[in-house]
């Protein structure tokens, strides 16, 4: 039964926008649209792809949605915006630069990192320009985010990025962790279950005994209904059982154990885009709003917290 006390804090939580400019702008707009006091972006904020745009004789050529697209130089910004809409970065260069990106892996990764950094810096500035003064904005990294962005987020005067820390947010303490257990993709910030539990426990042990904690853990708890995904083989292809893709829980047992032991009032999770859901583990309401960033849809959850820090109610949104 929802708590009917007085609301002290409204959180809007979203996750896994993966570099989508449009979704990030929607995220900022959510403060006003959903009357939120705090915005939390729970990890996997950077994009997955880099598209080289070849400049030649006053025109630009790139591969967009699998098709070769050529536009006049003056339409370059529009082309880049369209590429970014897919959650990809783009870089304009002549034949030599494009060839170097294709063949020189180190150079490619340097360009990729540069674009990621530029976008995160731009987002921080956009947040400063657009957010009302009284709205808190928390952005924490996820396993797909390179560690280089942590410093960029922490340096922003308008963004709070309390990764691995307890952070006071009105009546609650926010505990954030973007680390996950191993994935088939060998991404950043992966740890064994034991190591992950140790990291979570160290953070949560530091909370005062009577504190109300909201867990912002990118990894969802194991077998909670928030973590169902297709089972993949070693070639990252779906495993078929009985002619159908095998769906298995892929969440973290460490996260589940931490939630059971420490009982935060709410668990905010992401990571598994296709497993949107809400599930109570003990007294903790665990939420995964899922992600549909590639379609420009920002999935999220509105969470209301009472004056005493207890959970009141939630509502999934798709905007």
């Amino acid at each position: 039964m929802p708590n009917r006390g007085k609301r002290a804090l409204r959180i809007f939580f979203a996750t896994d926008v993966h570099g989508s400019e449009r979704c990030f702008r929607k995220f900022l707009a959510a403060a006003k649209a959903y009357e939120a006091d705090a915005l939390i972006l729970g990890g996997d904020i950077v994009g997955k792809g880099l598209v080289p745009i070849r400049e030649h004789n006053g025109s630009l050529t790139a591969t967009v949605r699998g098709d070769s697209v050529t536009v006049p130089r003056e339409d370059g910004e529009r082309l880049r915006a369209e590429i970014n809409q897919l959650g990809f970065y783009s870089v304009i260069g002549g034949d030599d630069e494009v060839r170097r990106i294709e063949t020189d892996r180190e150079h490619r990764e340097a360009v990729f990192n540069g674009e990621i950094r530029k976008q995160v810096e731009a987002w921080c500035e956009l947040a400063a320009a657009r957010l009302p003064d009284d709205v808190r904005c928390v952005i924490t990294p996820g396993n797909d985010d390179p560690r280089e962005i942590d410093a960029v987020l922490k340096a922003s005067p308008r963004i709070d990025s309390p990764e691995g820390e307890l952070f006071e947010l009105g009546p609650i303490l926010l505990a954030s962790c973007g680390d996950v257990t191993p994935t088939p993709w060998n991404t950043e910030r992966e740890y064994s279950e034991e190591e992950l539990f140790g990291r979570l426990a160290r953070m949560l042990d530091a909370a005062p005994a009577n504190a109300k904690v909201v867990a912002n853990f990118h990894n969802p708890p194991y077998s909670s209904g928030l973590d169902f995904a297709a089972e993949l083989d070693k070639n990252l292809l779906p495993v078929l059982r009985g002619g159908r893709p095998s769906i298995i829980p892929v969440g973290s047992k460490a996260v589940r154990e931490a939630i059971k032991r420490y009982q935060p009032v709410v668990g905010l999770h992401g990571h598994i885009h296709e497993s949107k859901g809400a599930q109570k583990i003990g007294a903790t309401m665990c939420l995964n709003p899922g992600s549909d960033y590639s379609a420009d849809v920002l999935r999220g959850a509105i969470v209301d917290i009472a004056e005493d820090g207890s959970f009141m109610d939630f509502l999934f949104t798709a905007g």
Binding site: P2, K26, D44, L50, T63, R78, T183, S291, D292, D304
Partner: protein, 554 residues
């Protein structure tokens, strides 16, 4: 930093450059153009055109179908572009409910949503009844194919009637209809991708039946058909007798353009469903382009197949005969000339012409296959509307529950199929013909709602369709392009609504029961919205209205 790789399937990269990806996780959206095309084509039911051909010929005299088929397709082409903007702005499941609630108002959106859910559930039942009505035809075809008297006698016994509560009903056919709905319900529990594959297979089956029919029509001369009908009817002069009967009854034959134009609304409804891939917008890969391609391919295919088969029928069967048969096909005089079922139209002609068992089987099973495909597609459509309503807390949250295994809304499927079965049983014991008479009007009103939403989109929510990097929308002569397409679509939808209202003898007579049902269906939405919102506000701090806010990206 995770390593980077060149993405496979990067496409036709000019100059060699492509897409480079970082190693990262996640996958979403699975329906591509073939699956979306399957849903669109199945929602139409390719072979149902014979029923609409028959209805046009039955309700109007001196009509030809080429012009109405082309004009009907033109109307849907306009609507296709209007809906493209809606799907681009709001690429999610739910169709008109989502568009109206986000663009116009939550209460009006709910009105359309509830009405759509109820109306489409009734359509499930109507399609199942329709398929059941064709079971005797299918059994007769199979009986002819296998030379089995057991099958033909089964066709006779299955359609035997008895007195039910208020009407004469056929228990055998009701059992067939309910059985079909149960099968459709069970099949719908699989993932949408798998269902789309089944639908596509059934659509291919229909197309093969169509091709066989086209082959039969193309490879037989007019005289062959005259002779074959004589042989089928046991009366050599059957062909000329049917035409003579019509002339004796004063039926005018030939072509009149004005009369043909009156059939346009029929053909608009004939194509109804061709855009329905937008209902599963939440599951489409690259929703805007997938929807557009699926709809355009479906429209083009239907035009080619339908116009083509009509032209072949003109050549082999003859327009005068088809017009005469439709007009006198229900009389006892006609029955004394031939046993050829008049409303089977082209399929009946194919049965008369076919000499081999394979084509008889294909023709016999085409309609049941089509209706199963239609119902599978409609279950997918109606359950996504129910899902969207439940997701917004307008219906119980349990209806938004999605199976982890198949990613399908199981509870919504169960509800839709149970309501469909309820309508089927109700229809067998009570006369609900009056209530369902205005189904055509209902579909036209839903199209009108979507068109209005597209017209309003650039004015009420321009930020959803801003050109990338700008704060303006695409324009034609200063008018937002989405509004232009929406307005044209609105005018054409209004024309369709107008003709349907003006021709109650054709599209269903209005009665207190039918109009009352339409009002109850449409106005239950806002009432449910108000009740659900008040109930939630009494126990929660979060107004459900927030869930219906579309976030502006700029």
């Amino acid at each position: 930093m995770a390593s980077t790789t060149s993405a496979s399937g990067g496409g036709k990269a000019a100059g060699g450059q492509s897409l480079f990806t970082r190693q990262s996780s996640g996958l979403v959206r699975e329906l591509g153009i073939p699956a979306a095309t399957g849903i669109a084509l199945a929602s139409v039911a390719v072979v149902n055109t014979f029923i609409n051909f028959y209805s046009g010929l039955f309700n109007f005299t001196r009509v030809d179908m080429v012009l109405p088929l082309l004009l009907g397709a033109g109307i849907w082409l306009v609507a296709m572009f209007a809906y493209r903007y809606l799907l681009r702005a709001i690429p999610r499941a739910g169709g008109e409910y989502i568009y109206m609630s986000r663009i116009i108002s939550p209460a009006i959106g709910t009105m359309i949503g509830i009405a759509t859910a109820v109306g489409f559930s009734y359509t499930l039942s109507a399609n199942a009844n329709f398929a059941a009505a064709y079971v005797p035809f299918a059994l007769n075809s199979l009986g002819a194919a296998f030379n089995s008297s057991a099958l033909t006698s089964a066709a006779s016994s299955i359609s035997s009637t008895t007195s039910c509560v208020a009407v004469t009903c056929s228990p055998g056919l009701v059992i067939c209809a309910v059985g079909m709905l149960v099968i459709v319900g069970l099949a719908s529990v699989f993932s949408l991708r798998r269902i789309a594959q089944v639908i596509l297979a059934l659509v291919i089956f229909q197309v093969v039946a169509f091709v066989v029919l086209g082959f039969l029509l193309a490879t037989h001369s007019h005289q062959d058909f005259v002779n074959a009908l004589g042989s089928y009817s046991g009366k050599a002069s059957a062909y000329s007798d049917v035409i003579a009967l019509a002339q004796k009854n004063g039926v005018p034959l030939g072509v009149d353009v004005g009369a043909s134009l009156l059939v346009v609304p029929f053909m608009v409804l004939n194509y109804n469903g061709v855009l329905y891939s937008y209902y599963v917008g939440g599951e489409l890969k690259r929703p805007g382009s997938t929807y557009l391609w699926a709809s355009a391919i479906s429209l083009a295919l239907l035009i080619v197949v339908w116009v083509g088969v009509w032209l072949l029928m003109l050549n082999t069967i003859g327009r005068d005969f088809m017009q005469a048969q439709a007009q006198v096909g229900g009389t006892s005089d006609y029955a004394s000339i031939t046993g050829l079922q008049a409303n089977a139209g082209g399929l009946g002609y194919g049965l008369v012409l076919s000499g081999d068992p394979i084509s008889k089987i294909l023709i016999g099973l085409a309609v049941p296959a089509a209706e199963i495909a239609v119902d599978l597609a409609f279950v997918a459509v109606v359950t996504r509307v129910i899902f969207a309503l439940a997701f917004d807390r307008m219906l119980p949250m349990g209806l938004a529950k999605v199976s982890e295994r198949n990613a399908s809304p199981v509870n919504a499927i169960i509800l839709a199929v149970l309501v469909g079965i309820g309508f089927t049983i109700l229809g067998s014991v009570l006369n609900i013909a009056n209530i369902s008479a205005n189904l055509a009007l209902f579909f036209a009103l839903v199209l009108l709602a979507g068109s209005i939403a597209a017209t309003a989109l650039p004015f009420r929510r321009p930020e959803l369709i801003y050109k990338p990097g700008t704060t303006d929308v695409d324009r034609i002569a200063g008018i937002p392009t989405a509004a232009v397409w929406g307005a044209i679509s609105t005018v054409l939808a209004l024309f369709t609504v107008g003709v349907i209202i003006a021709k109650p003898n054709v599209f269903g007579a209005f009665s207190v029961a039918s109009v009352g049902s339409l009002i109850v269906i449409f106005f239950s939405g806002p009432i449910i919205y108000v009740i659900a919102r008040r109930m939630r506000l009494s126990s929660s701090s979060i107004d459900m209205r927030l869930a219906m806010r579309e976030l502006p990206p700029e």
